[in-house]
Symmetry: C2
Subunit: 269 residues, 2 copies
């Protein structure tokens, strides 16, 4: 799951991006975080005078020049503020999925970040094969948060998606009240051929809305879980006639949201 835009592989035509925690000021000098300095100096092999893109805590984007290298510390100067198109989706989409085997959640977080996901919420479902307990809960959250940060840098996002700690199913139901729209992707609905639900849901989105979408793990959602979600105001959607794997379904949804809100000239959502 590493970053793979090394100098050889990028063709050199797109500047590397990093996030900084402070608010940027033109002319100011900033130190990169330890991981980012390692990436810039060791992986990218940057030299003094080379330029990168920095995004500050207010989602401002700057062109910055590598000013000084002292051991593992990289200091850059902010030399120009870049005013461009936002790379953030106009609706805030939180992807909630059950726990999966192997590195599937790593992929969902990496690809979801590329596709504009606002936040990721791992959840406990009845048919999960995998369980997280004790220290594993925070360890997994930290790992996924690191993947989200690196993917946000590579895809030139203006913010890092938040990775939540593991939520129990009850906590998901309680949390849902805070979202403008709550969706659940449910395969049984797909069989009934009710594909218009997704299109209807997407056209109800307005800029600034928050969306929570729940996906099953490999085992799918139980009827009981779907019933409880519906009682809490979740709408069921389908994601096409083919059976998508648990790690593919969220990427399909995010791509459709991007298409409708960013690619069709529909300005409002």
């Amino acid at each position: 799951m590493g970053r793979d835009y090394s100098p050889e592989s990028r063709g050199g035509h797109l500047m590397q991006q990093y996030f900084i925690e402070q608010v940027g000021q033109l002319g100011a000098y900033v130190e990169l975080a330890k991981d980012d300095a390692h990436h810039l100096l060791r992986v990218m092999r940057a030299k003094v005078g080379e330029e990168v893109t920095l995004v500050d805590s207010k989602q401002q984007v700057f062109r910055a020049k590598l000013n000084q290298i002292e051991g593992k510390i990289a200091t850059l100067q902010l030399i120009e503020q870049i005013e461009g198109q936002s790379t953030e989706l106009s609706v805030q989409v939180t992807i909630a999925t059950g726990l999966s085997k192997h590195d599937k959640l790593d992929w969902v977080v990496q690809k979801g970040t590329e596709l504009g996901m606002f936040a990721f919420m791992p959840i406990t479902l009845q048919r999960d094969v995998v369980k997280w307990t004790g220290q594993k809960i925070s360890q997994r959250q930290e790992r996924l948060q690191k993947i989200a940060k690196e993917a946000a840098e590579q895809s030139h996002r203006q913010r890092i998606p938040q990775v939540h700690l593991l939520h129990s199913f009850k906590e998901v139901l309680a949390a849902s009240a805070a979202y403008t729209h709550c969706l659940v992707a449910y395969e049984e609905v797909a069989k009934a051929g009710q594909h218009e639900y997704l299109n209807q849901a997407l056209h109800n989105f307005t800029s600034g809305d928050s969306v929570l979408c729940v996906f099953g793990s490999e085992g799918g959602l139980t009827e009981d879980e779907v019933s409880q979600l519906k009682e809490h105001g979740f709408e069921t959607i389908t994601l096409g006639p083919r059976i998508l794997r648990t790690e593919t379904a969220p990427l399909y949804l995010l791509s459709c949201i991007s298409f409708v809100t960013e690619m069709t000239g529909k300005k409002d959502a």
Copy 2:
């Protein structure tokens, strides 16, 4: 990249699907291919009398019952023809990408198959870091074809996407004449904010059309490659404001094509 719908993980509510090479006849007995028999008997641990879905060479779908197990040979009887919604996209989308490191092409083929890809064409580009030569060309094709078959079974496709042998760039240009629409995903266009191109292209698709879309590898396409593609009638498209990785971009395109042609009630394309 294995199949992971084991009995525990599926919740048991969706029948396993396999392809057979012959044309199916109600009541007929068929033997599963060796790999599929292994999967059904060893991984799924199926017993005589259990049912699966079989898709024949004419894309006909049957409910079939496991009739006999003899060592590694599984014989099934076709007991009902299932008339349902097609799981094939109405446009035939061939995804052509440069060669990538690690198992990225495995992922593109697996996920692309889930999302309805018609065929996959690995191509040689100037900035590829990876080269396939000699025996590796057919070995990689065979590996990717196997992944496509397994993904087609899991996603309940009615056909297995064809994986082509490696094409040189000149061969891609020559092959393009056979497609109704030729597209190239090009990052430089994204910077110019010309996102309407994708929407325009998708709305030109009509049922039965064939589409070839070329994607770069990690290094992206060179200006020279893009020029040559344009001279051969390729239209440039963008895939949203974020920088997508080489393995994510084709999945975004396929999701958008599915959305427009399968989910919006637009019957014709």
